[in-house]
Symmetry: C2
Subunit: 163 residues, 2 copies
């Protein structure tokens, strides 16, 4: 697969997309969040080739999003588990699913509901907040943070001067 | 570009990935959230070919995530604006950026900060909540919703029986 790396961008979004921005990595992660752990199970659920699945799993392990655990049966089976870095993608997964619920499945209602195990209550709709209160996109501005390069500082200054 | 459609999946996540799961669509949307509107500006910022940019913009317009607006100068310039469906991706964009801030840029601090225009305060970290309280992944279970197909119902029942 030929692709241009986005890693040179001084931007957390671009670097995240560089790691996650392919369909199969995201679909594998979806299944990992559902509790799928074994190669054969990923393969069966996603209907992808062994080569593609192997490559994508190796990529996610290399990025420390999944870790490979060899079971006690002498290596005959192995499990792919979410690491802390992988589990931290939970809001990403939920935001993608909820957007689909709202904008693609609007007529039918959601196929899958995420609920609290103890109470069975449905989790909240994710929203961007400030001190717990929803903030609309029009009330947001972009500023440079401590990790900004000179180019990023110039780009943000340029965007701000446009009003 | 050859790719397998994920549209047959009875899953909001899969259908969202089917629409958004390519790097350039996501990078174009990032720039649209930053306020970029013109073809030439997207091209300059992203460094992609005219053909790829045209195709990705047409895709996002067709999906009603962006809308094309021809300016009053007889069509010499046109703007690509986020629709309500596009603006609803705000939590998706923020979650991807914040994950990168935490897990890729950890040492340097974030390059870009999203703040409230009025107060200059930084927006909250997105989290999955129930009645406003954070819920950990381990306390979440998956249930079928009104839009679940028979296959989805069977898959969820199967996942639940595994404990």
């Amino acid at each position: 697969m030929t692709r241009t790396s986005l890693d040179h961008h001084n931007c957390s979004f671009a670097r995240t997309i560089d790691i996650l921005g392919d369909r199969w990595s995201l679909m594998i992660l979806r299944d990992a969040f559902y509790g799928v752990q074994r190669f054969s199970k990923f393969k069966e659920r996603l209907g992808i080739t062994q080569a593609v699945l192997s490559a994508r799993l190796a990529h996610l392990v290399q990025q420390e999003i999944l870790e490979r655990k060899v079971n006690d049966d002498g290596g005959a089976t192995q499990a792919y588990l979410l690491t802390p870095k992988g589990k931290a993608l939970f809001p990403v997964m939920v935001s993608l699913m909820q957007w689909g619920d709202d904008w693609i499945h609007a007529g039918m209602g959601p196929p899958i509901i995420l609920e609290d195990k103890a109470s069975g209550a449905t989790i909240d709709k994710l929203q961007v907040t400030l001190n717990g209160q929803a903030v609309a996109l029009r009330n947001i501005s972009f500023a440079t943070g401590p990790g900004a390069s000179d180019a990023t500082q110039a780009a943000v200054a340029n965007a701000r001067s446009r009003g």
